[in-house]
């Protein structure tokens, strides 16, 4: 095979999901409780700390803010920093089928 004569250079165009659906990376998902979220309670845009601190640009501003679960990696910063404690990180998957008995033996 011969080499192409047209000059090829590496030059990328922007698009979401360069690393794929990074929501797959997530072990825990953020779940917002509208009863606690300041913005949701007031019904207008206030606070927005979760939006400002999301490193993945996965939270849309609003009342309440919305999380893009297709790309959210589940870091949990939003839950940690929410001043109202309105976001819980819930496991994507339950474990514990193989637990250890009190005597240390596996069952």
């Amino acid at each position: 095979m011969t080499a192409p004569a047209r000059p090829r250079i590496a030059i990328s165009r922007p698009a979401a999901g360069e690393a794929g659906r990074t929501g797959d990376w997530r072990a825990k998902r953020p779940v917002l409780d509208p009863a606690k979220c300041l913005t949701a309670k007031r019904g207008d845009v206030t606070c927005q700390i979760c939006w400002a601190l999301c490193p993945d640009a996965c939270i849309t501003r609003g009342a309440p803010p919305r999380v893009d679960l297709e790309y959210c990696k589940g870091c949990g910063i939003c839950a940690q920093e929410c001043p109202a404690g309105a976001i819980e990180m819930e496991p994507e998957q339950a474990h514990g089928v193989c637990a250890v008995d009190d005597d240390g033996a596996a069952r």
Partner: protein, 201 residues
């Protein structure tokens, strides 16, 4: 446990080489798993062992793969395993993405870190073994940076499901790779996973 699995292992023994592919996520330690398994296999009598990562810049959480080959003779093929006899999945969510079953030899063996049952994974034309390796790591208090570390624990499941390496060799290999309390916890996690994984041929 099943005649099917025994047949796979027998066939692989006949061909005298085992191609294993690992699937994990960045930060889960698939590369470490692959290295320690190679060491354990060497200690179990394989003259030819090879483990290599797929080189990239994968970050914590991103899908990663690694390749292991075990044989009675020295290994000369350093290409990535694309047609595995055995697939080991550290993170169940990867199964749905299709990577683990790509190129899997018909009737191959798939070992998945999952608390659920094998039949729920929807993998066809393969023998599937599940093991709650994350649960084992949690039970051994093997938690780093808030995450249960499954990289060594899964070796117990691999030893149980394949019979290719002895648990004793796995423990020696872990001891070689880690020190002090880290080694102790890793061995404990692997032992728990070994105990609660269905035994293969």
């Amino acid at each position: 446990m099943t005649g099917g699995r025994a047949a796979i292992i027998v066939r692989m023994r006949e061909q005298n080489t085992y191609a294993i592919r690992w699937h994990g996520r960045g930060g889960q330690g698939a590369v470490t798993s692959a290295k320690v398994l190679a060491d354990a296999a060497f200690r179990s009598g394989f003259a030819g062992v090879m483990s290599q990562p797929s080189f990239g810049a994968e970050r914590r959480g991103a899908p990663v793969t690694a390749s292991t080959r075990l044989a009675r003779e020295p290994i000369r093929d350093l290409s990535q395993v694309t047609e595995p006899d055995i697939v080991i999945v550290l993170d169940e969510s990867l199964v749905a993405l299709g990577g683990p079953t790509a190129g899997l030899r018909p009737g191959g063996l798939v070992i998945v870190n999952s608390p659920g049952s094998a039949s729920d994974l929807g993998i066809e034309d393969a023998t599937v073994v599940t093991s709650d390796v994350t649960g084992a790591a949690e039970a051994a208090d093997l938690i780093v940076g808030g995450q249960p570390m499954v990289s060594t624990a899964i070796l117990g499941a691999v030893a149980a499901a394949t019979g290719l390496v002895t648990m004793e060799a796995v423990e020696q290999a872990i001891e070689h790779a880690f020190t002090g309390s880290a080694a102790r916890k890793n061995i404990e996690a692997a032992r728990i996973a070994f105990e609660c994984t269905a035994k293969g041929a």
